[in-house]
């Protein structure tokens, strides 16, 4: 699945995390110019736009992506309760909206429904990398056809890493994206879980997760072998 457009950049952390958990890839944009610049080859899969911080800029961005030859859809708008009157006469700018602060479950359900209605690809079913397969529907993981017995956080960490092969993540990033900011354990939690994952992957596959000295961790190689 191509990534969703996310506005603004950086997006609110709870939004980024909710999309990660729901298995939607995304890219954040800061303005109309970067919508074009960052657009994936096959186009944006859809968009989630937060209008609760800077409504003017957000609505202007919506207008520009809806005016293209092929209007960007589906588009989910996040607004605060006080902004509900602003939606009037702007119906063409969005396909659905969600009240902010949002409930992650509601956001996920609305996106799922939007994708169902527009008949576009829903969220990816599988994450694959060499012998590793993660089924996002059933939460199951296997390597070389052998099921891996993972705890939930091990599964989420592996899913996150395997969805971004070749990319180096700092401990802080992993902690905020996989565990969420309020998490208790601190950045060392990441190290502990990486070791647990390596132990479960077994000697043969432990090398899939590499330690990048004084930076963080990287899973496998990027698809372009960079």
């Amino acid at each position: 699945m191509e990534p969703l457009l996310l506005y603004p950049d950086p997006p609110p952390p709870e939004l980024a995390q909710a999309l990660d958990f729901a298995g939607y890839p995304w890219k954040a944009v800061s303005d109309e110019a970067s919508v074009e610049r960052l657009e994936p080859d096959d186009g944006w899969a859809g968009a989630v736009v937060c209008a609760d911080v800077d409504p003017e800029a957000a609505f202007s961005l919506c207008r520009s992506v809806r005016k293209r030859d092929l209007p960007l859809a589906p588009l989910l708008l996040l607004v605060s309760g006080a902004q509900l009157p602003d939606l009037e006469l702007r119906d063409e700018l969005f396909d659905d909206f969600c009240l902010s602060p949002f409930h992650p479950r509601e956001l996920e359900a609305r996106l799922k429904h939007l994708f169902w209605r527009t008949g576009q690809g829903t969220r990816p079913e599988l994450v694959e990398y060499s012998g590793l397969v993660l089924n996002l529907e059933t939460y199951q993981a296997a390597i070389d056809g052998q099921p891996l017995d993972l705890t939930y956080m091990e599964y989420e960490l592996l899913k996150f890493l395997a969805s971004h092969p070749g990319k180096v993540f700092t401990r802080e990033t992993l902690l905020s994206r996989v565990w969420g900011y309020e998490y208790y354990g601190g950045a060392r939690t990441v190290d502990v879980h990486i070791r647990r994952l390596r132990a479960k992957l077994g000697e043969e596959h432990a090398g899939l997760i590499q330690t990048v000295r004084s930076v963080g961790y990287r899973f496998g190689q990027s698809r372009w072998g960079l």
Partner: protein
Amino acid sequence: MAPMERHQDYVLRTVEERGVRLIRLWFTDVLGQLKSVAISPAELENAFEEGMHFDGSAIDGFSRVQESDVLARPDPNTFELLPWNRGDDVSARMFCDILSHDGTPFEGDPRQVLKRNLDKAHERGFQFMVAPEMEFFYFSSGDASKPLEPLDTGGYFDLTTTDAASDLRKRTIAMLEAMGIPVEYSFHEDAPSQHEIDLRYSDALSMADNVMTFRLVVREIALEQGAYATFMPKPLEGVQGSGMHTHMSLFEGDTNAFHEPGDPYGLSKVAYGFIAGVLRHAPELTAVTNQLVNSYKRLIAGYEAPTYVTWARNNRSALVRIPVTKAGKQSSTRIEFRSPDPACNPYLAFSVLLAAGLKGIEEGYELPPEAAANVFELTPEERAAEQIGSLPQSLSDALDAMERSELVAETLGEHIFEWFLRNKRAEWLAYKSQVTPFELSRYLPNL
């Protein structure tokens, strides 16, 4: 979905997908024994939402005067498929928090005691990291009426039997790793048939859960192969006993709060305060880290176990040792507390060690000078001059010290503190009333 719901959802789906038949809900009594209630997948959702009712009156340290019903609520983050008995009978485990009827944490639950103390550390910005070295013996059987037969000797060919024991250890490590408990080192210890497996550091709550799992896995694998594994602190006279040397550090976010580059020992003020805290309170907390009559037969001179309250860098008779950290490995800066034994309740032991360390940091305790020589070689007068104190000599001494300790009472909570003292006094009394073979052989011929 909220994080907790996702955790639960993950567990429910995995149970369904993997055909799990039984879910074992694990919890720990005050003495550190693992308890288990098995439920079927159909009951799981309810267990998450409401908890499972059970009668706590039969559990050591759980009973109360008014009501004995408690609730066990599984922690979905600890869900693991059990790697043994695979085949038709797929089962999984989760550790539980024990709640009172009104949903508040039950004060007799050791896991909640540790959680409460970790919360306190967290409020001060610290994460408590722990790595224990687990020592144990393999014997040919656990029958106490017969003389103990170590697996390494006892009539077999040495080569074969040495292999048998290391094969046991290898199988154990494979099983631990499959359960997400990474192993740092493992080796044959000094005594015959004694082995050591060192666990990789983790946050203290996961580590206490790991220690409980570890003891079960070691014993299960041994039984499977017709042998017997024991964590009894001193099963054999005249050789080393089994310890649980505990490596500890505090982290503030990504940095090791024990590390200070300019210091001659590489230690920070926080580290010195922590060491001073565990040293000053060591006699009071020893009943918790060494809770058996038998524990004190290990804490004697000559077997690499500590008996005096000292600290040092490279002196293995010291109570607190500062392991040398390699250059560039600052994050592994830590202290090693050497008195605990593997028969302790890890939740309570980690709790009292953390509380003592934090107290030292907070009150700015001054650290006594490093023990230079081998403390065992000093005369009592020299020790007195250097103000070197002793660890309790017996369970009875340790209980006396604990009873006077405000720190331990506060750390464990009134319920566990009182129950523990009562239970252990009874154990001491039962021991004291025995007439031992030692007394008969020593006194009878001449008196």
